[in-house]
Symmetry: C2
Subunit: 435 residues, 2 copies
Amino acid sequence: MKTGDKLTIGLFGFGVVGQGIYEVLQQSLSLNANIKKICIKEPGKKREAPADLFTTDYEELLSDPEINVIVELINDAGEAFKIVSTALKNGKAVVTANKKMVAEHIAELLQLQEQYDTPFLYEAAVCGSIPIIRNLEEYYDNDLLKSICGIVNGSTNYILTKMIDEQMPYPKALEKAQFLGFAETDPSLDVLGIDAVNKLTILIAHAYGVVTHPQRLLHVGIDRLNPFDAKTAEEKDFVIKLIAQAIKLTNGKIAAFVLPHYIDKSSQLYAVKDEFNGVVIQSSLADKQFLYGKGAGRYPTASAVLSDISALRYAYRYEYHKLNTHAEITDDFYLRIYCSFEKITQIDLKDFEWVEEFHSQEVRQYLIGVIQFKKLIASNWFNKKIISVIVCPDGVIEEIDTRKVKKLSHLLAGSHFVEKTSETLSNLTKELSGI
Amino acid sequence: MKTGDKLTIGLFGFGVVGQGIYEVLQQSLSLNANIKKICIKEPGKKREAPADLFTTDYEELLSDPEINVIVELINDAGEAFKIVSTALKNGKAVVTANKKMVAEHIAELLQLQEQYDTPFLYEAAVCGSIPIIRNLEEYYDNDLLKSICGIVNGSTNYILTKMIDEQMPYPKALEKAQFLGFAETDPSLDVLGIDAVNKLTILIAHAYGVVTHPQRLLHVGIDRLNPFDAKTAEEKDFVIKLIAQAIKLTNGKIAAFVLPHYIDKSSQLYAVKDEFNGVVIQSSLADKQFLYGKGAGRYPTASAVLSDISALRYAYRYEYHKLNTHAEITDDFYLRIYCSFEKITQIDLKDFEWVEEFHSQEVRQYLIGVIQFKKLIASNWFNKKIISVIVCPDGVIEEIDTRKVKKLSHLLAGSHFVEKTSETLSNLTKELSGI
């Protein structure tokens, strides 16, 4: 693909985004791009485009020498990877919006791009219309990124907004998100944080040159959040957001995870509501930057796909400059977390370095404390459905002051417990003084 | 300049940004760029770089065939234009942060780029570290931009934040901004809105392909704002921001101006405080996008300049695609404005289509009404120092409902005037019923 080549597109998938692209390309004549063939799964459906455009045969697109761009917009990540890898091998430029496919195969896809010297763009895969990958690639390329911290999943953000702003219970908020088309019928990719961790996997490749698999990164979704957590957020003037975060520690290693976070008013992410996405980039030169926009939907996604198609006109491709820095993921840091449970015995207090707050009510209890990240994920209580964990504002701590450990038993002993838990407390206090 | 060429830089100016660039380039070895010579005005000063790097002779940089990039960072816009135009004529790529120079010479600079086929980049000229030009150029290139609306001047935003959040009077806020280095010693470029309108001139070239002179665009700064206006903002839960705005009307023409605006909580600009900048881009596909970051200062500006230098490695240049659309500026639209004065007789009510609110206190009065933009700028009261004009949220109106005009006299007659002005009112009401 050279600058100035006419773009002849083979499109896979004709769902909402595919239709959006088709529609927009009809109107964007200046782009010098046209769709020659569209590959779909079910041939029978009535579609808003001439019937002779459609085929169910991959090869009609992948083996057509005239088609120089494959735009892949199907749901099935496995099939998508087959299509994309064949296209790259056949020397066709590829544009995709499939975050799951890109995240799970990023290492292979990097190799294919290098081996076949073919552009592969996927701006629409992360934060829809927000040009985050392009800006990380090009604009912050020479700046030292300290952290990248974002709301990257629109459906969970919609649900959390309803839970916090309207005190709507989680199942009802989820139902409403599904009704409005923000969440999938099977919403588990969204609410379990899988979609967010896929996007984080892609982001850290461009931000830090870390090539990893989404399974390597911790992800906790919003399914275990309790109405009590939302109430606590309100009391503390926080909101709850599902955050995908990557931070470069002073030792050069990267802390990266997806967890619910308490966000305070000082953060630009506080005001990111409903289905919107937002990303804060902290760098040593540009300082704090914030990008905000629609993360999903027919036209925002089409807009990003279109920008990628447009960039192919001047043979644009990702350079992945940071791969040479050999940065790696670490679990060796601390988190300040809020943790709520029915009874404090449901967690293991000894896992914490110290506890700064403890609160107990009839309905539920919580504590705020500092814990080693690796202890948290290794603990036997962290994955219990009954426990909810939320990272506190500025919750990533590189090093701790061990003198603070002493505070633990003192704080718990001084708390105002309801009658019911006083026995638990007394046992706890005994146990804690042994730390 | 071809992809992969080594960048040998001639730097004009060694102020805070110039020093920042020098410092950063020393650390960014991967960029394959080095500064060969630095041209400065005063040879005697002690500087944090080897003495043999410095010269006072333009020609040592502009005529050196080895230097293929000129980075221009001097204050004097006239001198800067001489340097930049000579550099382009000599086939050297140019990077500048000089908004005044770019805005005032944009037509000539476009011609020089075309004639000499040389890249000319100026991301740092608008919103410092926010990659707004690059994103308008590349990313929103194929999307239909409805509007672009931004806080583009950090010093005025700092002053307004102090005035609203801390009820600090304007002169004290200005003094503090100067003390912190956000405002120039001669702050008139900032506070009169000249800096903002320079940036707007640059933005509309990339957003809409409109090439004009800043003098063609209305700009009002913040120097005429009254503490009373800040109090009104507080009562209405608004903040005051100096906004550079361009809107594509349904007739395809562009409304563009710099005016103080009341901003409500629903806008992303509401939370842009202190010296930060923010731009909301509304487009038909991507919908609402918001970019936020530091608009000025040594390192944020250096970051933007560095990104431009870095982009020269792959022969990046602005394409100004939208120039072909022949969009033009119009003054034919309406504004909903808040207007405050000592006495209502200081303005001419007949200029308004209608008035929606009228408020009178001993200290000052205000009205909120709808006025034709061209009547506003042609009026004899608009430029009086004693009058302050602030655009209301969503204040640009394309067409009006003339039935509303009737409301005018009714509203004024119903207002609760203080004793003093009742006579004025009575005259007014008489006058108004004649409209």
